[in-house]
Amino acid sequence: MSTDVKIPQELTVSKHAVPEGVKLPIYMDNHATTPMDPRVLEEMLPYFMEKFGNSASRNHSFGWAAEEGTELARERIAKLIGATTKEIIFTSGATESDNLAIKGAAEMYREKGNHIITAVTEHKAVLDTCKRLEKYGYRVTYLPVQKDGLIDLDDLKRAMDDKTILVSIMAANNEIGVLQPITEIGKMCRERGVIFHTDATQAIGKIPVDVNKNNIDLASISAHKMYGPKGVGALYVRRKNPRVQISAIIDGGGHERGMRSGTLNVPGIVGLGKACAICQEEMQQETARLSGLRDRLRERIMSRLDETYINGSMEHRLPGNLNISFAYVEGESLLMGINDIAVSSGSACTSATLEPSYVLKALGAGDDLAHSSIRFGIGRFNTQAEVDYVADRVIETVERLRELSPLYEMAKEGINLKDVKWAAE
């Protein structure tokens, strides 16, 4: 994969040579976005210049050719998640899908109730949508998570009442990769006649998701998290057992069965479809390969560094995700030291608002560990050589920064940092 990203040479002071076959900078932030699979791009290309018709043009071959593309994509997406084509609505991405699912269900079932349940670790697309609904008079319960990142099913049971109309819990978390027990959540919702929406953005294409086996009523999907293009996604809307309805949030022409107006992003949708088809075919081998690489990264780092902590359950986790806190070292300074590698951190210093990761805070680990965390997202195009190089660079940078750290010094002297009275600025 060629890249034009320039690495300022002054920043790279590593004692490790770049291994054979490894090109810098290395991209290991696959939860933020993914590079497009060349096969996806190839599938999309004809729809820009040759098959450029509007798929809603019913009366000529340009329209039909475009429609053929979008309908094939619809089939491929449906197949990946065990749905039917009539249940797939195209959107501009998972953020829109989350908005549509939650606002659409809230409005449609307003007479039935006004209570929504979600979790504190959801993506902002879900949390901010819920906050807006609170302004409109809906009541929202934000379930806490346990230390491993999973919700407590008893908390969910207790939270449900006769006004509950919707539960929204993500299948896989984007920061810590943790998998929620969606089958059980879905079952609980089904038993009580409550609609279950899952933001499946990080899960679909990576782990098996079946809308029937997992008792899902609404599911958000994003192309650019599975080696497809940005700006396109989908929402699964259940039609049978039970039939789920949602109000549209975008009006204008009634496309997508009245649920999402607007000319379809034909090339994008074709890309999404192809991305799903590839994931379906390759999921099993890819999962094995990525977990292997992830475990290799974890073992290599943790065997050489002490006081490193994994954030979130290792057992219920996406195959390519690793989120580690390196005690006594701050995240942004760590990223600066490994600037030839693209990863991200839960540190406040890396966020525009100077707030540390709310997901890590929800695990109860403490702000200092949130500030010291790094998220690795290993993906389809990462190699073992890259993983080894990343591990070595992380180790050497953490060691160097610990030498600079007053906290490390105090800890080595036997001082318990929790007992210290800090003079915050």
Partner: protein
Amino acid sequence: MSYSDKVIDHYNNPRNVGSLDKNSTEVGTGLVGAPECGDVMKLQIRVNRETNVIEEAKFKTFGCGSAIASSSLATEWVKGKTVDEALAIKNMDIVKELSLPPVKIHCSVLAEDAIRAAIGDWKKKQAAEKPVAVEAK
């Protein structure tokens, strides 16, 4: 976020990293910030009692690149200055020297606080010493 060359330089080649003997009466130690905030700086100075000149300064910092650079720069600046001259160092001087963006100004404030805390600690030790000297007479 792009860093200025000076911040990068301090990050790669930090000046005066280390520790002085915090029990020595010649040494002032300033420890500011808090782990929950993501910024902790320890700045130490060794002052010549006759001349009040800061002869040595060391630092250790838990924080982002700008925080490390600010405290590294602080140790560079205080060395060779008298205690009173060092107290005149303002955080905006650090901001200017390192070209810190607005979102990182608080790192320079912490560095200024660290200097003051170190000097304050040293002054406290000098004040505590005087009665002992009188008793020994």
